[in-house]
């Protein structure tokens, strides 16, 4: 897969140092990083959050936040020209013409109040002298190259009228319209659904082959790396851990850190089946519906079914996964079950008790039976409450004495592998993974029968993700709690779920034991999801490609 090495170097980074503020003593965010990206080659910069991969890319573009992060050492050469010695004016000339960048969030990266065609047009206006007709012709042509439909209409559209994938295509069109030699892509597919991600990755590949662009691709996702990289550079704590051709990195990683990073990638092969057991059914829904009504100006009405006739059941000690892309209704189902939103119709039984129609007040005693863990541990914990208060608050509401609740909080923190003295500390003193452990302890404090995890590991780095998944598994083993696990990630689903429901546009399209649904998907949509999973041909933890034929459930 790796390309011949004598292509000319487009970007050469040597011993780059980026510090927090000026002066030799300032803390180094990037410490002596070196790599080269060559013509028509993709270098993937991989690392977990805080590894400095994005800072590196912003340093190349000259877009580091002013007066906060400063390049204080090393060299960055773009086609032989030293960027760190270039004036602001020269850097502006080089941006978009020689080096261009696309970002993670295509929604926030586009100006919401300017039509997208004009946003592309600005690039041409800034760097070339062309008449309006010629600019328009070039823009429409570029928009066709990124496979946007109905380009005339999209040209005039505002970003909020476009889908996530379309917005990212606009970003790519904007980045490539001047034919830059270097494209920097900073997690360009992380915010997208897998099927869209697959298309965008294919598009980047296609355009790269067509124009011979050098691509610096930043990602945390080893699956994406396996799909797109020619070479891989692994970063950690601002340093380069290891760099080499994709094959060498995936098959024979030399550094321990690279090995552990690869080892933490959850396998797509479902975990071995567990005995179904005869635990009581603790959660059941029957024909659950949630419909939203959109009202137009003059009273016209349109109904949107966010969830349609969803029927599921979950036994004590088991894990049921709901898998789907954004807009599939998986979170709507979770929120209805929690009664955070009210279902339009249908039945929800928690621990044998029908709760779908209960009023807020009658529902209150049943709330403790079912608890939820949210996606973003940075926002789901109240920053002004100490960890202990957060955990104890629920039980105190249900009549436990404060002292007893706090004592229990200490026990729970030990259960989730945090020190008991964490009770007195505040959420900002913990890392993302630790906060998610706190969120789990908070949910468990209510002694629930059912734990709902809504994308609970999606915001975490893979190594932390693996730990949290293991923790959930241990807790289930010990307490017998039933787990409803909402995720968009098939790899995660394969590692934790006993049974799986696949949802699309509010409807359940396939359901069954994880080992069946993931190994032999029957529905075209499930297969499509499966095929879009990046790196599905690679068995990362064992440093080898997945053997041809159907994946067999691991024996261990």
């Amino acid at each position: 897969m790796s390309k011949t090495p004598h292509r000319s170097a487009i970007l050469d980074v040597r011993d780059l140092v980026v510090s927090l503020g000026p002066g030799a003593k300032a803390a180094r965010v990037i410490d002596g990083v070196s790599f080269t990206v060559r013509e028509a080659q993709t270098l993937c910069l991989v690392g977990e959050s805080g590894s400095g991969k994005s800072v590196t890319s912003l340093a190349v573009m000259g877009l580091l936040p002013k007066n906060i992060l400063l390049p204080t050492g090393g060299r960055i050469e773009l086609v032989g020209e030293s960027l760190l010695d270039s004036s602001q004016r020269r850097l502006r000339q080089l941006r978009a013409t020689t080096m261009a960048m696309i970002f993670q969030e295509p929604m926030t990266a586009l100006n919401p109040v300017v039509p997208v065609g004009r946003q592309i047009d600005e690039v041409l206006q800034a760097h070339m002298r062309l008449d309006a007709g010629e600019r328009r012709r070039r823009i429409l042509d570029m928009m066709e190259q990124v496979h946007l439909p109905d380009v005339e209409r999209i040209y005039r559209s505002y970003p909020h009228r476009l889908s996530g994938g379309q917005r990212q295509r606009i970003m790519i069109a904007m980045a490539l319209i001047m034919g830059p030699k270097l494209l920097i892509a900073d997690e360009p597919t992380t915010a997208l659904d897998v099927t869209t991600q697959k298309q965008i990755l294919a598009l980047v590949r296609e355009l790269q082959e067509k124009h011979g662009t050098a691509v610096l691709f930043i990602t945390h996702d080893m699956g994406v790396v396996a799909e797109i990289a020619d070479r891989v550079a692994v970063m950690r704590h601002g340093r380069l851990v290891e760099e080499g051709p994709i094959d060498a990195i995936l098959r024979r990683p030399e550094q321990e850190y690279t090995r552990s990073l690869l080892g933490a990638v959850p396998s797509l092969v479902p975990r071995p089946r567990r005995d179904e057991g005869d635990g009581a059914v603790v959660l059941e829904t029957y024909d659950l519906n949630k419909t939203y009504q959109e009202r137009s100006l003059f009273g016209g009405r349109r109904e949107v079914a966010a969830a349609k006739d969803v029927t599921l059941s979950l036994r004590r000690g088991r894990t049921l996964g709901i898998v789907g892309e954004s807009g599939s209704g998986k979170s709507t189902v979770a929120r209805c079950i929690m009664r955070l939103i009210d279902p339009t119709s249908g039945s929800i039984r928690v621990a044998g008790r029908e709760i779908s129609e209960l009023t807020r007040r009658l529902l209150q005693p049943h709330r403790q039976r079912i608890q939820i863990i949210f996606q973003d541990p940075y926002r789901s914990l109240n920053p002004r409450l100490s960890v202990g208060e957060s955990i104890a608050e629920g039980p105190v509401n249900f009549g436990t004495s404060r002292a007893e609740a706090l004592a229990h909080a200490r026990e729970l923190l030990r259960l989730v592998d945090l020190p008991a003295d964490a009770v007195a500390r505040y959420p900002h003193q913990f890392s993302g993974g630790q906060r998610q452990r706190i969120a789990i302890a908070r949910a468990l404090a209510m002694k629930p029968d059912v734990l709902v995890a809504d994308e609970a590991v999606s915001a975490l780095d893979v190594s932390v993700q693996a730990q949290v998944l293991k923790l959930l598994d241990d807790i289930q083993e010990r307490l017998g709690v039933a787990l409803l696990f909402i995720t968009h990630d098939l790899r995660v689903a394969a590692q934790i779920c006993d049974d799986i429901i696949v949802m699309q546009r509010g409807v359940v399209v396939e359901e069954g034991p994880a080992s069946l649904v993931l190994a032999e998907p029957k529905e075209p949509y499930t297969r499509q999801l499966f095929e879009a999973a990046p790196g599905r041909h690679w068995d990362f933890a064992n440093f080898r490609p997945v053997e041809a034929g159907a994946p067999t459930p691991a024996a261990s």
Binding site: L63, R92, A109, N111, P112, V113, E122, H160, M174
Partner: protein, 313 residues
């Protein structure tokens, strides 16, 4: 959009209705006989009877209200008790100075404050930012009459560039109007410049941290374009809100400034009417001010759609 405007105008009807009821009851619910309040202490019984007759106070209250509203809709706000001039005419005369002063003040404030705010945000943390912010604190804290008298002392008395006081209609030539309007405008603008500049700075700082500003820079755009085309328009909505609110406050009268510069505006009319218990004038002023408030708010809301296409009505 058109549907929204119509709905908003219709929604203003009950609001104005409530105001009308309140204004009507203002006089009727004041303790004592309205006629006695109006006529004052030294009135004879005949005078009282005549006032009752003119005001229709002998009719049932709903008839009184209906007649009053009927007159109102014909633009008849009643007659001043002091000067015996129709209230509509009095307000009309006083409206022009207040309106022109409000417009000139808002224009000057926006022209000065928005660039200051943008500059301060762009140069955040530098001496430029600190100078702008210090000026804003000054603008907030120095009373308008101090600024007014200092301006008069320097530009009217010492330098003799402009007349000390007074107002001249713009219809009688721009020169004389400008001469007399410039000092009160500058004096009034101080606080609005401070307010709008602070708001612009805060709003710009928020927007400058957005991803699309980084995208604009990554495209190789110059800083001017980044600031004006990408940041400012996104920062506009809160700034426009402040400008609109400021404008209504200005129109409803700026008593101190009008007194300092001897401008025959609405603010002084209101104060004089309150002190003299000239009820018809007070009622007219309340109606006018609330009407303006409703209208300006509608305009502000509509202007949002110009700045942000995601806002649709």
């Amino acid at each position: 959009m058109l549907g929204y405007i119509i709905r908003r105008i219709l929604a203003a009807v009950p609001v104005m209705g409530c105001v009308a009821v309140f204004v009507f009851l203002l006089l009727r619910l004041t303790p004592g006989d309205p006629a006695a309040i109006i006529a004052g202490d030294s009135a004879t019984p005949e005078q009282l009877e005549r006032i009752r007759a003119t005001l229709g106070l002998n009719e049932p209250i709903y008839v009184q209200f209906a007649t009053w509203v009927g007159r109102l809709l014909h633009g008849d706000l009643g007659v001043s008790l002091i000067s015996q001039i129709p209230v509509a005419q009095m307000i009309g005369q006083r409206l022009e100075p207040s309106l022109t002063l409000a417009i000139s003040t808002i224009l000057l404030s926006v022209v000065v404050a928005v660039p200051l705010g943008v500059l301060a945000a762009w140069k955040q943390g530098t001496w430029i930012d600190r100078v702008v912010m210090a000026f804003c604190v000054l603008g907030f804290s120095v009373p308008v009459f101090v600024v007014g008298y200092v301006l008069i002392q320097v530009f009217a008395i010492d330098l003799k560039w402009v007349p000390v006081q007074g107002f001249r209609s713009i219809t009688r030539g721009f020169g004389p109007f400008f001469e007399r309007a410039v000092l009160p405008t500058v004096a009034l603008s101080f606080i609005y410049i401070a307010l709008i500049a602070r708001m612009t700075r805060a709003s710009m700082l928020e927007v400058l941290g957005e991803d699309y500003v980084r995208t604009a820079r990554a495209k190789g755009l110059g800083e001017t374009k980044v600031l004006l085309r990408h940041a400012l328009r996104n920062a506009a909505v809160p700034v426009v809100t402040v400008i609109g609110t400021g404008f209504t406050l200005l129109i409803s009268g700026v008593v101190v400034t009008e007194s300092v510069f001897n401008i025959p505006g609405i603010g002084r009319l209101t104060v004089d009417a309150v002190l003299a218990r000239d009820f018809p004038v007070i009622q007219g002023m309340i109606l006018l001010t609330s009407g303006l408030y409703v209208a300006v708010n509608l305009l502000i809301d509509l202007s949002y759609t110009l700045f942000d296409p995601r806002i649709r009505y």
